[in-house]
Amino acid sequence: MNSEILIAKLFIKTAFKNKAVFILTLFIGLLLIYAAFSGWTNFKYQNDMKVKYQEQSRKDWLSNPDKHPHRMAHYGNFAFRSKAPLSVFDFGMESFFGNSIYLEAHKQNTTNFSEAGFSTGMLRFGEISIAMILQVLLPLLIFFLGFSSIASERENGTLKILLSQGLSWKQLILGKSYGLIGVVMTIFIPVMITISLIWITIQGENITVEETLRLLLIIISYFVYLSIFCVIAVLISAISKTSKTALTSLIGLWLMLTIVLPRATQALGKAIYSTPSKVKFESDIDADVVKVGDSHNPDDPYYKSLKDSLLATYKVDSVKKLPFNYGGFQMKEGEKISANIYQKHQKELWNIYYKQNSFSKILAFVNPYMAIKNLSMALSSTDFSSYTEFQEQAEAYRYHVSQEMNELQMKYISNNAKSSAGKSNIIDKKHWEDMHDFQYKPSGIGKVFSNELISILAFLFWIGLLFFLIRLLSKNLKAI
């Protein structure tokens, strides 16, 4: 144990003497500061906007006078997506999510105004977030720091001396890895302190156990991720004849893991599972709705039999004599049918997306970059499932409001009403206030575990694999 610590200390000491390392570290440090700053600015601005417009929308809703409830159902509401606290750290897919949905009766609108929709080609190069620097740039820095760790000892001939002095290969590899991890910690620890401070400032007094757990898991998983790269660097250096081959192999590996493979696998998923076009998606829903019953067709058999059974139940000969508003009832029925069909199709579509993404998830076993990318997005609530959850909740709210308005119509509007105007066809505006505003409730951390089980298993796999490789190589490596 002692000799490993000694080697680690020596490694750290020489690393800090290297001017290039100092410049690179400084540069990455500056970049991190910029990332934190711009992430925070954006977070604050977006959430302030969201609050402002959500309030404005609410104010507009409440400002409506006495009205026919169906008019209110069409007046509708807005759901604006807010950012989770840790999205400051990892932007994830947020720029590609829409930011607002208009929620009205009978119609499921698209989630509009994504950052990407208004972007120039620039966004395709990525965004600078703290997570991105830790995921992409830090591994490269690790490779730059570690490529010569053992290879240069071999080139200098000092490797033979070390080993002949009784040091084992295992001690050497572990020692160098600890040293490399130690150097990386000089960046990692301040970054994690900074992000924790920002995280505390953002949340003020409302820090929950849940959020704390998320932050802790982020710290742990990034520590594991970076350590994996440290060990990889040392192992590649150990098996390389010269430091030059070690460097080129590591650079090649880095490019493969962070630039080429992620895109290639996602492209594969996209090529295999094709998605319907928007018009196909919408017309399929229309067709399915009409199959059940076409509310626009006065002779539609479904609505006719519905009417007949109502008349029979209430023992009346005309819908006008029903004890509730028939129009409201019909719309309630229609809304139920169309909402169910829409949800079925939406689920199917998301299922295709899920399958497309499954390649990138499984890839985590080959590529630790994908493991951290997926896990980090999930912990920061900027992943695919956060998006579908927002849409699901918005749709649930839309459905709730529409049906609430239909109920009001059934209850208060006379069957003799000919239109939505006129004194007898409107209800008191106090009902608008009874309708609570849309409130997004993020799902618990339990969902992260179930969604990202693969990523977590991949991490465990990588830890096991590296320990196995250290043992294996310790027995087989040669000093020359």
Binding site: Y53, S63, N112, G117, T120, R263, S277, K278, V279, K280
Partner: protein
């Protein structure tokens, strides 16, 4: 001499792997482009089919009321996807290439998003522009980073200096051979693309080709300059990769963050809120006042008198119109904001060749923000045209049967704007000049 250099260069295994890697990723990118084009084509075909059925169905269901029929009818406008788009998909995967609008309020429909898997968008396409911008430089770096340093490290450099009449022309030949090989890969890939994707050999394609060559030349310039510093292979590798990361990842991403924070778009949300209020509150205000405002916008319809009763279509469409009219200011501001964003990003990009290339390739392929904004303008125009066509028919209560509904086919918008060649080529030429000039000077100094 040069054939010898070429033979020697091509003998190396790593060169073969590099060339193969580029060709392979190029071919993959062509397939990605092909798939994208097929999906676009399918969407357009499905839209055309749907529109026909949709109009026929609604005409059947609402044969008595023009106003009610037009409440439902959707008309689609397609943003034409040129074949060359397959080589630079740009923003076309994010933004819908088809926009379907009724004649009701436009602002509530104009920005309707396409269905998208955000993960696909996040990781991006492997289109040819990606291969060119990201991967070509890597191979160029791999081919050239040790041109001189390797000879020095193996001790053969001295022999070269002594034996050749001019070491500089020797270096020049080493670079030329590599440049020609990479150029050949580019030509082969694009030639395959031309056939496979049915891209016409027009000025857009030639511009694409030319700007690609300049980009490759730019990276050779950078490598040439680094070689002229006479450092070790390891140093060259690190410095060149750092330049690559800086130009491909760090600078573009930082500038993107900067632009997003500098030009945020709250106007978008403002517009939707305004239009909702503008339209809906008219249900509870004086009918005549609304219709008067409508007549003020369209004096040509003054001749139509508002019918009596609780509801009439003139009033209804006047209300819808008010949603657009009252959010017009915000909508215009949004458009201006996006123009500013677009302009500033193109201007900044002139100084960053990677960004410049991406933006210009998108311009050439008509797949960038410029195209998207022009398409949105066209959607506005298209919507207005439909409105003006149907308004008098609705207000005069023309019978539904008086219209030839089959003639309402899907319309197509093709961006006609011409390219600014100076803006495309000049920035790259300047950078090429700078790096080759600096490299040349370094070699001269070293010699004397």
């Amino acid at each position: 001499m040069i054939t010898l250099i070429l033979k020697n260069f091509l003998r190396s295994n790593s060169v073969k792997i590099g060339v193969l890697f580029l060709l392979l990723s190029g071919i993959i990118s062509l397939f990605v482009g092909k798939q994208f084009m097929a999906k676009q084509k399918q969407s357009v075909a499905e839209t055309a089919q749907y529109q026909q059925k949709h109009i026929a169905d609604n005409v059947k269901n609402h044969k008595d009321e023009m106003g009610l029929l037009l409440y439902y009818l959707k008309f689609s406008l397609v943003n034409n996807t040129l074949p060359i788009n397959a080589l630079s998909i740009g923003q076309r995967d994010v933004n819908p290439s088809i926009q379907s609008v009724t004649i009701r309020g436009l602002e509530a429909q104009k920005y309707d998003a396409d269905l998208n898997n955000p993960y696909n968008l996040l990781l991006g396409n492997i289109d040819f522009s990606f291969v060119l911008i990201f991967l070509f430089p890597l191979i160029i770096i791999a081919f050239t980073y040790n041109i001189i340093s390797e000879e020095k490290e193996s001790g053969t450099w001295k022999i070269v200096v002594i034996q050749s009449r001019s070491p500089f022309s020797f270096i020049f030949q080493l670079f030329s051979v590599r440049f020609l090989v990479v150029l050949l890969v580019l030509f082969v890939t694009l030639f395959m693309g031309c056939i496979f994707l049915a891209i016409p050999l027009d000025s857009a394609f030639l511009t694409y080709l030319l700007v690609s060559i300049l980009y490759i030349l730019f990276w050779f310039g950078v490598c040439f300059w680094v070689a002229s510093l006479h450092k070790s292979s390891n140093f060259n590798a690190v410095i060149l990769l750092s330049i690559w990361i800086f130009l491909i990842i760090i600078l573009p991403a930082s500038i993107n963050n900067f632009l997003v924070n500098k030009y945020p778009t709250p106007e978008a949300l403002e517009t939707t809120l305004k239009q909702r209020k503008g339209y809906h509150e008219k249900w509870d205000t004086d009918k005549q006042a609304t219709v008067d405002k409508f007549f003020a916008h369209y004096p040509q319809f003054k001749k139509f008198k508002m019918p009596e009763g609780d509801f009439n279509w003139l009033w209804y469409y006047a209300m819808q119109q008010m949603g657009d009219d009252e959010s017009a200011k915000q909508s215009k501001e949004l458009r201006e904001k996006l123009d500013k964003r677009n302009e500033l990003s193109a201007n900044i990009a002139q100084f960053i060749p990677t960004l410049h290339l991406q933006i210009q390739l998108n311009e050439i392929a008509k797949s960038g923000l410029t195209n998207q904004l022009l398409f949105l303008d066209e959607v506005t125009y298209f919507h207005e045209k439909n409105r003006l066509y149907f308004y008098p028919k609705i207000f005069s209560e023309a019978p539904v049967s008086s219209e030839k509904w089959e003639k309402f086919k899907v319309q197509t918008f093709t961006e006609e704007s011409s390219l600014n060649y100076t803006k495309i080529f000049f920035p790259l030429m300047v950078f090429i000049g700078i790096f080759i000039g600096l490299g040349y000077m370094n070699f001269r100094i070293k010699k004397s």
